[in-house]
């Protein structure tokens, strides 16, 4: 999908940039404390567990389960209204369920947001990440695993 007028990350936030550089390479990276190993999402400068300023970006499994979901109806911004009603999901990462991502359940990386019949979505169902390129950003979305 290349539809413009979607809201996109600005790629100007230094804390977030490694994440978006990762998605651009097809990797779902998780910021991880260089000292104590605690994962954190969203990314930030300091480890909330040990206050270290050191961080590594570690490739995740890209697998998880649906933690919750909504089905969004208008009124919406035009680029989103054109695909409504569509789902938005929160995914809990397989290796650390406290690490969660907001995304969409799609049939394929570049599919429309309304491709999946929302009535079939279940909390707990397994999903795996795919990357949808929009302009200069690759957004992580999810397909059924």
């Amino acid at each position: 999908m290349t539809a413009s007028d979607l809201i996109l990350p600005g790629l100007q936030d230094p804390d977030a940039l490694p994440f978006w550089e990762g998605t651009g390479r097809g990797e779902l990276l998780v910021q991880t404390c260089a000292d104590c190993g605690r994962r954190r999402m969203p990314p930030r400068p300091m480890c909330f567990a040990c206050r270290s300023l050191g961080a590594r970006w570690v490739a995740s499994s890209g697998r998880g389960t649906v933690w919750s979901f909504v089905v969004v109806h208008p009124p919406l911004l035009p680029a989103y209204a054109a695909q409504a009603p569509y789902n938005v999901i929160v995914v809990a990462l397989a290796e650390d369920p406290a690490i969660r991502f907001v995304g969409n359940l799609v049939a394929s990386a570049d599919g429309r947001l309304d491709e999946i019949d929302a009535a079939t979505i279940r909390i707990g169902e397994p999903v795996r990440v795919v990357f949808s390129r929009v302009e200069d950003v690759a957004l992580p979305r999810w397909v059924r695993a």
Binding site: P42, W67, S68, V70, H73, V88, V90
Partner: protein, 385 residues
């Protein structure tokens, strides 16, 4: 020395404009009108006001308010952020300032023009985001209702809450609005059938799970308990106040912390009840922030009216309804059926319950809990007669 503000200050005056859509006056003008009415209600002259506490989102800031109303010297002023979470905090900061001698008479207020569709904050989102919204809005989680719906679905999954429970909330508040001539929905009853047939906004939330969009303004005057006893109306004491940001919180999109369903109300409640002689079991009436219906069960749990996971069941059997429910809640109609002015109207209804002047007056009510936004850094008050 530990200073406790308990009952040392009181709300002596309240004022509000009409609620509407497309009101011609500016937010600043509406703010000045509401404050003017509140000062008249308190019998206090503008020149005596020396404290101002506002929402950080307020258009009309302290200096504009002061020079419109002809205030004398202002020695305490400040703002509180996070939108709907701020309301009780503004009153609390004003009470702190009066109790500690930083000012004698403080005003807190909220004016808002939200009814115009173009004024809705989500509709003005930048296309490129470097804020925390970059983790949710690109995926179409655009509006506050979408963010709360995400928590609601999880809540329903974990605890067996149903749409019938959410309808209990919407219908109770509408019944109260139907008794309140000032309420936007005064003349519009709502049935369970209408609720169930309403269009979706963000499943599992439908139209009637959402608050109204309102233009209007409200204000309160806070002064010392001694001074308030000389004012025309009986003083409504600020018995306790607290604010709350829970661990690892992220405003409105707190999906990333260990326990997203343990919201700001839990943090706020711990301080509130620790500083209060009045406890949840003693509270006969409540005004609970209701931008969305599921915030009621979440808040009932957070503020300790029931155990975690029991908030939905708490709403059964008309528990939230005047006059016979175990906890009549949002007795003027709340944000869902009276007006949505970032929850400030809940504070004024709390004052009316303590004055005995609510249109759904709980007989003999001696105290009232008032809360501000759940899902954002929040605040709450215990008011008493």
């Amino acid at each position: 020395m530990r200073i406790v503000i308990k009952d040392r200050t009181a709300i002596a005056g309240i004022g509000q404009t009409a609620f509407g859509k497309g009101l011609p006056d500016s937010e600043l003008s509406l703010a000045c009108q509401a404050i003017s009415l509140a000062l008249d209600d308190a019998g206090i002259a503008p020149a005596e006001v020396d404290g101002l506490v506002a929402f950080s989102m307020e258009d009309g800031r302290e200096v504009e308010v002061a020079r419109n109303l002809g205030l004398g010297g202002v020695t305490f002023f400040g703002t509180i952020g996070y939108g709907g979470g701020a309301g009780c905090g503004t009153v609390g900061h004003a009470a702190l300032a009066v109790a500690t001698g930083q000012c004698e008479v403080a005003v807190a207020w909220r004016a808002r023009k939200r009814a115009d569709k173009g004024s809705r904050p989500w509709a003005q989102s930048s296309r490129r985001l470097d804020t925390p919204w970059q983790w949710s809005r690109p995926f179409g989680l655009l509006r506050p209702v979408d963010e709360i719906a995400m928590l609601t679905r999880r809540y329903m999954h974990e605890y067996g809450a149903t749409r019938d429970h959410l309808a209990n909330v919407a219908l109770a508040f509408r019944k109260h609005a139907n008794r309140n001539p000032a309420a936007t929905m005064h003349a519009k009853p709502l049935t369970r059938e209408q609720y169930m047939a309403a269009r979706w906004i963000s499943e599992p939330l439908c139209l009637f799970d959402n608050c109204l969009e309102t233009d209007g303004a409200l204000a309160v005057v806070i002064t010392s308990a001694e001074r308030a006893r000389d004012c025309p109306h009986p003083p409504v004491y600020v018995h306790a106040y607290a604010q709350g940001i829970p661990p690892q919180h992220q405003t409105m999109t707190s999906f990333f912390c260990d326990d997203p369903l343990r919201g700001p109300s839990y943090t706020c409640a711990a301080r509130l009840w620790a500083n209060s002689d009045i406890q949840p079991a003693d509270i006969p009436v409540a005004q609970i922030y209701d931008a969305f219906s599921p915030l009621i069960p979440l808040s009932l749990e957070g503020y300790g009216f029931c155990a975690r996971g029991e908030g939905a069941a708490f709403t059964e059997g008309g528990a939230l309804e005047w006059p016979d429910g175990r906890l009549p809640t949002n007795t003027a109609g709340g944000g869902m059926s009276e007006a949505y002015v970032h929850g400030f109207n809940l504070i004024l209804e709390g004052v009316r319950q303590m004055r005995g002047t609510s249109t759904s007056q709980v007989a003999g009510a001696g105290s009232c809990l008032v809360t501000s936004g759940e899902g954002v850094p929040t605040s709450a008050l215990v008011l008493r007669r």
